[in-house]
């Protein structure tokens, strides 16, 4: 399955407002449209994953990810923080682009790891950070995935 098919425009936010690591995670989780209690459990699981080591992979990109019982299918969201913020990324640079991936513990189609790998590969394309900066509508993000994401 192509990455484009796993994102929806509703799960794309081009002006993240939060200005701390925790608040960014919460804002990204909100994009998934879960209920309040699921949001809380998911935040704790993502936070624990971040405590093991930042998911900021450098060049302004972070990929918070986890498996959680509170979702019944693979859920993805993208958020952009204009100007970037400290996310303890491996290159210590501010992070502007956040890709959230949450998968259930069991998946029939086992997409979680391939999707995680595809997003990491997509994000490492030297053109991508600049192209993400230029986006003005969520649909343009989906178009960029269609054009550049690995298949």
């Amino acid at each position: 399955m192509e990455l484009r098919e796993l994102f929806t425009a509703e799960a794309v936010k081009l002006e993240l407002e939060a200005d701390s690591k925790d608040a960014i995670l919460k804002e990204l989780i909100e994009l998934l449209g879960l209920d309040e209690k699921s949001d809380t459990i998911l935040f704790k699981t993502l936070k624990r994953r971040e405590n093991l080591g930042s998911t900021g992979i450098g060049k302004g990109i972070a990929i918070p990810h986890c498996r959680s019982l509170v979702v019944n299918k693979l859920c993805l969201a993208y958020g952009r923080k204009p100007g970037g913020m400290d996310f303890n990324a491996i290159d210590d640079a501010p992070v502007q682009h956040f890709f959230l991936i949450v998968a259930p513990p069991l998946e029939v189609s086992n997409q979680y790891l391939p999707v995680l790998g595809k997003i990491a590969q997509f994000a490492k394309d030297p053109d991508i950070p600049g192209r993400l900066e230029e986006i003005s509508q969520p649909e343009e993000f989906l178009d960029l995935l269609r054009e550049k994401a690995p298949r």
């Binding site: 209920d35 209690k37 704790k44 699981t45 080591g53 990929i63 019982l69 019944n72 491996i90 069991l106």
Partner: protein, 125 residues
């Protein structure tokens, strides 16, 4: 307010525990998630698994004694102690759960288990 907003506090703990156990198991996969975490995110897998073990023990200790006893009874025989119920089916043993259990809006206000496999269940719509 949704059904899950009124979730039993012990069920919340059990869900957190199960998510931690999933993380811990995956970090032990040399050619799966563990390799991805090491290659893309530079995670020290041994250290990470040790930290998760500590957190798992801490959460297990915070379960109330009755729930902890049941949890410990199920754990040795099952890789997952809490499983989702989707479309009326237990995703631990894949046996149908009675409609009266999964259909109740307040299902998460009390701890429920699968009558077939004994796992705690969490109903996902």
């Amino acid at each position: 307010m949704t059904a899950t907003s009124r979730m039993h506090p012990q069920l919340v703990l059990l869900l957190e525990l199960q998510d931690l156990r999933s993380q811990h198991r995956e970090l032990g996969e040399e050619e799966g998630a563990g390799e991805v975490e090491r290659a893309h995110f530079h995670i020290d897998l041994e250290k990470a698994r040790s930290e998760l073990e500590d957190k798992i023990q801490e959460l297990e200790a915070s379960l109330n004694p009755v729930v902890r006893k049941r949890y410990q009874r199920v754990l040795p025989n099952r890789d997952r102690v809490v499983v989702p119920v989707i479309n009326g089916v237990c995703y631990g043993c894949f046996v149908s759960i009675p409609t009266a259990t999964v259909g109740d809006e307040g299902a998460h206000q009390e701890l429920q288990g699968c009558e077939n496999c004994g796992r705690f269940i969490y109903i996902l719509s």
